[in-house]
């Protein structure tokens, strides 16, 4: 039965071909450092799932943000786990993508014909940092508030345009409900859209071009 359904679907979708192209493609001899990209993807999926779950209870307004986070952590079954996975996953994500980038630099894997893979990776790194910056404010506790006060002030330090940047990021002079709302919007709508599109491009290129072999000493 299962086999017949698989054949029926394969006739129409050619999923076997897709599966082979993605998972059964030929790769050069590699080592554990080459798993950092997959690890990043794994943690990204974790962040997406736990992030969606958190929005079920989280409310991004100054009078409810902190209380709703406390409610998730202390009252909802497994809420501590979901929030914990998202919290620690965020740190893991930053560490993994940076290590992934270092490996690519180390092996010179950004060179022809993989420039686009590299560029999309650079933007992915910026998006991950953006996630970290916007997500940090959302619990709306003292640490979040002051970290964002400092962070936005740093963003406002360039001459001439600095003040304008600061006001745009904060949505005004001060850190207010507007700041929290726009950080939330950026964190759950803008950045995830960019992340998914760039991941698709990044992975298409990895499958299309293939990954580079570790450089040898004699070459």
């Amino acid at each position: 039965m299962g086999v017949r359904i698989a054949i029926w679907l394969d006739e129409r979708l050619a999923w076997r071909q897709v599966w082979e192209a993605i998972f059964l493609r030929k790769i050069p001899k590699v080592n554990w450092l080459y798993t950092l990209g997959s690890a990043s993807l794994f943690v990204a999926i974790n962040q997406i799932i736990t992030g969606i779950l958190l929005t079920i209870y989280y409310v991004p307004t100054p009078d409810h943000a902190y209380d709703s986070v406390q409610y998730i952590t202390t009252q909802i079954p497994a809420g501590w786990l979901i929030r914990g996975l998202h919290h620690w996953g965020a740190s893991a994500m930053v560490i993994l993508v940076v290590l992934h980038m270092l490996r690519v630099i180390w092996h010179g894997a950004y060179k022809y014909p993989r420039e686009l893979t590299w560029f999309s990776g650079v933007f992915l790194l910026l998006i991950v940092i953006g996630f970290g910056f916007t997500g940090y404010l959302l619990p709306w506790d003292q640490k979040a508030y002051w970290a964002t006060t400092v962070g936005t002030r740093i963003a406002g330090s360039p001459p001439i345009i600095g003040d304008w940047i600061l006001r745009v990021i904060r949505g005004g002079e001060e850190l207010t409900a507007i700041t929290l709302a726009r950080f939330f919007g950026v964190h759950v709508w803008v950045l995830p859209t960019g992340l998914l599109l760039l991941i698709l491009l990044h992975m298409y290129l990895v499958v299309r071009i293939g990954i580079s072999a570790a450089p040898k000493r004699e070459e």
């Binding site: 974790n46 709703s68 079954p77 497994a78 786990l81 979901i82």
Partner: protein, 159 residues
């Protein structure tokens, strides 16, 4: 032929990957379901005696409306809510407390003195003095609260 049934390294690793994937999915899926349905399954049973007022306020043989304020916690928000009950006594000693919520679809019923009936404006449900269904769609009599009398004061068990 013999080799096909044997588990070689490749096949073993393939199976191991699927097994780990299943474990992670379950480890994520079960807490996720608990997390989503958690508050829905929580039954709030507040067994608090709320003071309604003096027994003398209830007219004999006529359902009298009482309103009590109570603190209700929904999620992380505490709200003050008003609960309305109709109290009825025939002898001034035994009291019944009826909810004013129609058992059909939750609209509020009203006591119509001229007709001696409770009337629900939403779908014309009609109840008698003691909350029994006379006509209309309501499936059961009006819900009742437990009441007690202490020192001439009426209390109801509610929340």
């Amino acid at each position: 032929m013999e080799q096909d049934n044997q588990i070689n390294r490749r096949r073993f690793l393939g199976l191991a990957v699927w097994a780990i994937a299943a474990l992670i999915s379950a480890g994520m899926g079960v807490p996720a379901i608990a997390y989503i349905v958690g508050p829905a399954l929580k039954r709030v049973q507040s067994s608090e005696w709320l003071r309604l007022g003096a027994t003398s306020k209830v007219e004999l043989g006529i359902p009298t409306l009482f309103k009590v304020k109570l603190q209700k916690q929904t999620g992380w928000i505490v709200n003050e809510e008003e609960v309305s009950v109709y109290l009825l006594t025939e002898d001034g000693r035994d009291f019944i407390a009826m909810s004013n919520i129609c058992t059909h679809l939750g609209c509020r019923v009203r006591w119509i003195a001229e007709q001696e009936q409770f009337f629900c404006p939403c779908h014309n449900g009609v109840f008698d003095k003691e909350g029994r269904v006379i006509s209309g769609p309501p499936p059961r009599p009006l819900d009742r609260y437990e009441v007690k009398v202490e020192d001439g004061q009426l209390f109801m068990l509610g929340g």
